[in-house]
């Protein structure tokens, strides 16, 4: 069974929601990423997305663009990330997803990539520049190796939501608003309408991300979904404190967990 399914089943029993966090692998180095993953888990996250750095991350705002650049400048490679995952899997069973651009998978070789995902213990991949219509680039291979290719829906998806939902596994990634990743002070999306449509069609857990950066926003967004995804706000702390960011990130994740659990 995929770790993501077990995680959501367990949370459902406990009547809790999922906290999903994003960090860029290798920012600023693999040792820090390893410590961050373990600390983030300890402070209550349920799934961790590891960003695979890309030279041209068109779906990212400045915060994650800079993290991507720092990681690449440190010499991060995909093989290095798989080594890190292998090492992490001796210490933790938290669900892990790779968030990456399609060119990285394509160039690495789709079969070779998913075989390594399975071997090292990656549970899902999220590819923001691979829309539903092009998902056959990876889907068959991903499923054959027990890895979930996570689909995204956006407020602009409208009548596409039904078809996307019907073909999704693990969880559905709901993009909170138009635009790239990054901290937002407010949202213009009509969430009632967006999540009404999602509720009608989606039979798997759905989580909301893009721009969620504070415990207050977590409190608001959790009412709509089975979980919240926080990325740039964490990456920003790592960008400021680099190797010394583990404790601060831990405190921040704890505050998000508390907001999610109404503590």
């Amino acid at each position: 069974m995929n770790r993501i399914d077990s995680m959501f089943a367990e949370l459902k029993k406990q009547n809790k929601k999922a906290l999903i966090t994003f960090i860029t692998a290798g920012d600023p180095d693999f040792d820090t990423t390893e410590q961050l993953v373990l600390e983030i888990e300890r402070q209550g996250a349920n799934l961790i997305e590891l960003g695979v750095p890309f030279s041209d991350p068109i779906a990212e705002g400045p915060t994650i663009q800079e993290a991507s650049l720092r990681s690449l400048q440190g010499g991060t490679t995909l093989e290095g990330i798989f080594e890190l995952v292998k090492k992490l899997r001796t210490k933790t069973e938290i669900p892990l997803a790779l968030m990456m651009y399609i060119n990285t998978v394509y160039r690495f070789g789709v079969e070779r990539f998913f075989a390594l995902c399975q071997e090292t213990g990656i549970d899902a991949v999220i590819v923001p520049d691979l829309p539903f219509e092009e998902h056959d680039e990876i889907d068959a291979c991903a499923y054959a190796h027990g890895v979930y290719p996570i689909n995204l829906v956006a407020p602009t998806s409208k009548d596409r939501i039904a078809a996307i939902a019907a073909n999704s596994k693990g969880f559905l990634y709901c993009v909170s608003s138009t635009g790239v990743t990054g901290v937002r002070n407010s949202f213009e999306t009509d969430f009632d309408r967006f999540f009404d449509t999602i509720k009608q069609h989606v039979r798997i857990p759905y989580c909301v991300g893009f721009g969620i950066s504070s415990p207050e926003q977590v409190k608001k967004m959790k009412t709509y979904s089975d979980g919240v995804i926080v990325g740039s706000a964490i990456v920003r702390i790592i960008g400021q404190e680099k190797k010394n960011s583990v404790a601060s990130v831990g405190l921040f994740v704890k505050s998000l967990r508390n907001a999610l659990d109404d503590i």
Partner: protein
Amino acid sequence: MNTKVGRFGEFGGQYVPETVMNAVHELERAYDFYKNDPQFQKELTDLYHNYAGRPSMLYYAEKMTKDLGGAKIYIKREDLNHTGSHKINNVLGQALLAKKMGKKRLIAETGAGQHGVATATVAALFGMECEVYMGEEDMERQALNVYRMNLLGAKVTGVKSGTRTLKDAVNEAMRDWTANIENTYYLIGSAMGPHPYPTMVRDFQKIIGEETKRQLEAMEHKLPDCVVACVGGGSNAIGMFYDFIPNETVRLVGAEAAGHGVGTALHAATMAKGSKGIFHGMKSLFLQNEEGQIDSVYSISAGLDYPGIGPEHAHLHTSKRAEYVSITDEEAVCAFEYLSRMEGIIPAIESAHAVAAARKIAPTMQQNEIMVICLSGRGDKDVYQVARYRGVNIHE
């Protein structure tokens, strides 16, 4: 829903974030409707004739023909279009489409600034808001075009990220589009990006080849034996090639930018050195490393300084219907000077790559054969940079 659209062989596709997928589909539907709408075509033809100055001249380059001693050389004068390049053909088409779709804001990326200028021009004509993304490196290289865009009422936003050139301008324009999808039309300047752009841009540019065929028929009563055009993303080349693709006797030659040479790290020769990848919305050929990180590319020409190529060219290349040659900075600058002195025509440094290729190929052809060079733009914008390349410092 799960059908493959916009493919050229294995290339093309729609690799864009979910947020813009409905916009891409809306554009696809609008284009499918308007391309067959007589009223739309009538308005566009009117703009081509009365605003852009089409048809562009097909000029017999007699001195150059004699000098090279091979094929009879004609030059398709896209440099004489309003705004000084072929870019206006596509911009008029897409901006008219945007207007029909009710969009109020145009955004564009630009390398050399020619597409930015064309977009700013038509935005002024149609009374639309316009923002152009341009790499900061290119803003320095093409300061004249930056001023020109501002003069036309457009906002030019410098892009600081990455290599600060065309690739990064496309990234930033795509990010803007994702954020402002409801009111904004992304006017892509080359035959690249997600479907329907490569097809649509080609359709708006194919008038170059169609006119050439008609004009040559009137003058020579035959097809050309060879057509030559420069390729960055590849819009003027696909515009010139497209109508000749079924005419298998016509040799199609694209000239890409070899910078300091394809054997160095400083070039933009996607066909010579690229590999299959998926980037900027399309599956095509790209300059990239083993990890799939997109390479920094280099060319003296800001308009050819791009690490990929439109998907239809990738298909013409792999199916061997067209051939692609690499031209260095030095060869392009020599061709820039050559055409200026030989014919009194100063070509854009991009188009000078096509002239350089023609100088190599024409002497190998017979005197009863015909070559057409697509002169995609005029070279006023490049004079300062070529002077600097030659060690001449022009003071303002």
